[in-house]
């Protein structure tokens, strides 16, 4: 059983770091994209109105 493995701490650290790393990077990328899309739309509106 994996839970009683002497390597559990290494397995948890490896999987934890990978998932947190990939998840955080994806979240940062997603919000950067959202922010850039919003800025781009606002700028287009300003240009049309101005």
């Amino acid at each position: 059983m994996m839970l009683s493995s002497p390597y559990l701490i290494y397995i948890l650290a490896a999987y934890g770091l990978s998932l947190i790393g990939l998840g955080a990077f994806f979240a940062w990328t997603f919000f950067s994209w959202k922010r850039s899309s919003q800025k781009s739309q606002d700028f287009s509106k300003d240009k049309l109105e101005g």
Partner: protein, 237 residues
């Protein structure tokens, strides 16, 4: 015809319909890979449960190399054909490749401590992968050293092309030199030396990492295109 696929509008046209599917596929492959890797696959007879680290370490290493090969190809398009979309794709891919390389090195260290007794050894494979991380870092530093986004790209592309030499070195490091790192278990020319119960989570996680790359590349490319549009508009004000 050649100019059509170089246009950013072509990128949006192609990626808009496929993006939700790629995202769902990434999630499903991660779920299946984690289930088979952590619960369904048996422990290795020599390495025990530490073998499970391989299911995330090996795909991260494969992707670190794949992204660099992709970067090399895009750099060729930039230097030879001055392809505008290749420039955006290359710049968008670099942080993803660096992330995979960092994950490959950290998960490898976490496997190395219980198996080799050390987090790090100056082994040919480990050192050449560390060089790969420096190449990603060097590309980014060179690209960002210029104030205009288009200026640093040629110097960075040249560095990326020179750095491609490191890919066969990484691949061959375990056979050319006497290393602690084990040789490849999966090669094109021979049947896999690992059991199907262990091959399944490895393939599933490799698929998950690949589609993760595709989905993040799409998002980062869209962001970069938006930022460049804003940069041009700001300049016109």
């Amino acid at each position: 015809m050649k100019q059509i696929w170089a246009r950013p509008s072509f990128f949006f046209k192609i990626t808009n319909p496929i993006f939700p599917g790629v995202l769902i596929l990434t999630g499903l492959l991660f779920a299946a890979g984690l289930y088979t890797g952590l619960l369904a696959s048996p422990p290795d007879y020599q390495q025990g449960d530490a073998m499970r680290i391989m299911y995330i370490h090996v795909p991260a290493s494969w992707m670190a190399l794949f992204v660099y090969a992709f970067l090399g190809l895009m750099s060729l398009f930039i230097l030879v054909w001055r392809h505008p979309l290749a420039e955006v794709l290359a710049v968008s891919a670099v942080p993803i490749g660096a992330l995979f390389t960092i994950l490959s090195l950290t998960t490898g260290s976490l496997w190395g401590k219980p198996m080799w007794g050390a987090y790090w050894v100056w082994d040919a494979r480990l050192t050449s992968v560390l060089v790969l991380l420096f190449l990603y870092g060097g590309y980014w530093a060179l690209y960002k050293a210029y104030s205009h986004p288009g200026q640093g790209i040629r110097a960075a592309s040249l560095l990326a092309l020179v750095g491609v030499i490191n890919l066969p070195i990484i691949k061959g490091s375990v056979t050319w030199w006497n290393t602690l790192h084990q040789p490849a278990s999966l090669t094109k020319l021979s049947s896999p030396s690992i059991h199907p119960t262990m091959l399944t989570p490895l393939i599933l996680m490799a698929g998950a990492y690949f589609f993760y790359f595709v989905s993040v590349l799409i998002l980062r490319t869209r962001t970069e295109l938006n930022m460049r549009k804003l940069y041009v508009w700001e300049g016109m004000r």
